[in-house]
């Protein structure tokens, strides 16, 4: 069982570092947001302390790196289903939930590694201090956020059959999750329906943990630590159970086994 974790993790990391352009854009994307959005909106609202807004969205920017990193990684499960890797994993003598757990863990690591790389960039640019970066509460925040994002990607890929609807996943999952999380602005003043969505969004709790750990001074956190940790862990466990169940169903209905030859079922 541990050998399976190693195998899945190694494959995930090989694939992550192999796709250089994707890794590069994962590094550049947050910086663009930090400077373009942070700088632009910051110049509108920061009158007293220049640069305050930029500093305020640093936790959200790290959160974004994790969201993209972990989620894209676990979304590759859809590719695994399409290409037959998944059924090959299912013939291995390990239970389905363990396969899902391995994938989620590998995606968590992939997202955390990307977050670490971005944090180093932020450190060089003076937005983070080493003290914060090595602070256990910050590390915990990164790890749990990555886990929850991996879980979200896993649920999404358990529910979708092909990568064709990637654009809709982007529109209806990744963007709403990011914008309604408090990463860019405090959500507490949002209109009630949107506020509700942001409270149901597990990513909000990850960003909140990071805000607490970074403590930029401008944007206060909304939730208690225990609540955030509970939500992130609880959501991930639920996602694990649901995705395993769903994959097991798909295997039973033979949907994973007949790939080529025009049988799309």
């Amino acid at each position: 069982m541990l050998a399976a974790i190693r195998a899945v993790l190694v494959r995930e990391l090989i694939k992550m570092f192999r796709q250089k352009s994707r890794l590069l854009s994962a590094m550049v994307r947050p910086l663009i947001w930090l400077f373009v959005i942070g700088g632009g909106i910051g110049s509108l609202i920061d009158s007293a302390t220049p640069g305050q807004y930029q500093r305020d969205i640093v936790p959200g920017i790290i959160g974004m790196t994790i969201l993209f990193g972990s989620m894209l990684s676990s979304l590759s499960t859809v590719y695994d289903k399409e290409s037959g890797i998944m059924r090959m994993m299912i013939v291995a003598p390990i239970p389905t939930y363990w396969i899902v757990a391995c994938k989620m863990l590998a995606s968590t690591v992939a997202g955390s590694v990307q977050a670490a790389l971005v944090c180093v960039l932020l450190l060089l640019l003076g937005f983070l201090s080493p003290a914060i970066m090595l602070n256990p509460s910050f590390l915990l925040a990164v790890g749990l956020t990555a886990l929850a994002c991996a879980a979200l990607g896993m649920v999404t890929s358990a529910l979708s059959d092909s990568l064709d609807n990637f654009a809709s996943i982007m529109n209806f999952v990744i963007f709403p999750v990011f914008f309604l999380s408090g990463a860019l602005y405090p959500v507490r003043d949002l209109p009630a329906p949107l506020l509700l969505v942001s409270r149901l969004n597990p990513f909000s709790y990850g960003v909140d943990l990071m805000k607490r750990a970074v403590d930029s001074g401008g944007m206060a956190s909304d939730f208690g630590v225990a609540l955030s940790v509970g939500v992130l862990v609880g959501f991930s466990l639920l996602a694990l159970v649901f995705s395993s169940w769903r994959l097991h169903q798909e295997a039973r209905q033979a949907r994973l086994f007949n790939l080529a030859g025009g049988r799309s079922r």
């Binding site: 069982m1 195998a7 899945v8 090989i14 037959g84 890797i85 090959m88």
Partner: protein, 306 residues
């Protein structure tokens, strides 16, 4: 080694496999043959624990696979009808990945790779991405993937489809070695029936039911002594002239096949003389598994139940 009793699989209203029973002893080379859509892949997936049978029971090495699928999977290697490799990873990375899933340590996996790669002369290509390999080499990697964990039973679902003769020969050479050296039980499906001739036992299925089974040589022997093959453009008219019995002939496009059997009255030589002037080709040959298959699937032979 494999004992399946009355297994069926329904997909909604469709019955893909219908009360099939198989008894495959250890170390046997077994061929499951049948036309497209006859339920071969479905059967293999059930035997390999991937699909739960709608009815019936399956024992692999004495283990009830519905009760203990994980334990049974350790004994099973499966090569799917279509490739299941990660094209972006190298040969070595793919195999190490599979070995890990099978629970081999990294060291054991590497050692195993040293044994496996030479079987298909893949040492030089170990770092090549799988997507860059030829179809034959990719198939070879697929097969190696199926045996990394030294399974007792190997299921090969159309392993040679689309490959050239040398690649196919290599695969058969490999299979024979696995059986001879490791006593592996091999279950094969193929549409190239000449490839099934070396099997110890074959089972023909149609619409999910066994329609004939036995040793290929015995089946061919029982089928008939000789075949007369006639080609002509107006074959239907010629056939009508001959007044043959239902069971003794088969029309396939422009070809008429007539079989001679110990219990038939047909004289191939007579027909030959009668038709010699009117046809394009005419030859007498030994029957083979293909003829057995054609006769069986054309439905002229009264169906044997087995």
């Amino acid at each position: 080694m494999i004992l399946a009793q009355g297994i069926s699989k329904h997909y909604g209203a469709l019955t893909a496999v219908d009360g099939l029973s198989l008894d495959i002893p250890a170390g046997q080379f077994f061929g499951l043959l049948g036309p497209n859509g006859s339920g071969k892949t479905t059967t293999i997936h059930m035997l390999a624990t991937l699909l739960a049978p709608s009815a019936g029971s399956i024992l692999i090495d004495g283990l009830d696979i519905t009760k203990d699928p994980l334990q049974a999977r350790k004994k099973i290697g499966l090569v799917f009808q279509d490739s299941s490799l990660d094209g972006t990873l190298s040969v070595e990375q793919n195999l190490l990945f599979c070995a890990g899933l099978q629970g081999l340590s990294l060291k054991a996996s590497r050692e195993r790779l040293q044994e496996l790669l030479p079987l298909f002369d893949l040492q030089d290509r170990r770092h090549a991405p799988v997507a860059s390999l030829s179809g034959g080499m990719r198939r070879a990697v697929d097969i190696l993937r199926g045996i990394v964990h030294r399974p007792r039973v190997l299921f090969l679902d159309e392993p040679t489809v689309g490959l050239d003769l040398p690649s196919r020969k290599r695969i058969w050479h490999f299979v024979r070695r696995q059986i001879a050296e490791h006593g592996m039980t091999v279950v094969l499906t193929t549409h190239y029936l000449e490839e099934a001739a070396p099997c110890d036992q074959v089972c023909f299925i149609r619409q999910g039911q066994a329609i004939a089974r036995g040793n290929p040589d015995a089946l061919v022997h029982e089928f008939g002594d000789r075949i007369l093959e006639i080609e002509a453009s107006d074959i239907a008219r010629l056939t009508a002239q001959l007044h043959l019995k239902q069971n003794d002939f088969l029309m396939e496009g422009n070809t008429l096949l007539v079989r001679e059997r110990h219990d038939t009255q047909v004289s191939l030589e007579e027909i030959q003389q009668q038709l010699a002037q009117q046809v394009e080709t005419l030859r007498i040959r030994k029957p083979n598994l293909n003829d057995v298959f054609l006769w069986l699937t054309s439905g002229t032979e009264e169906e044997k139940t087995c």
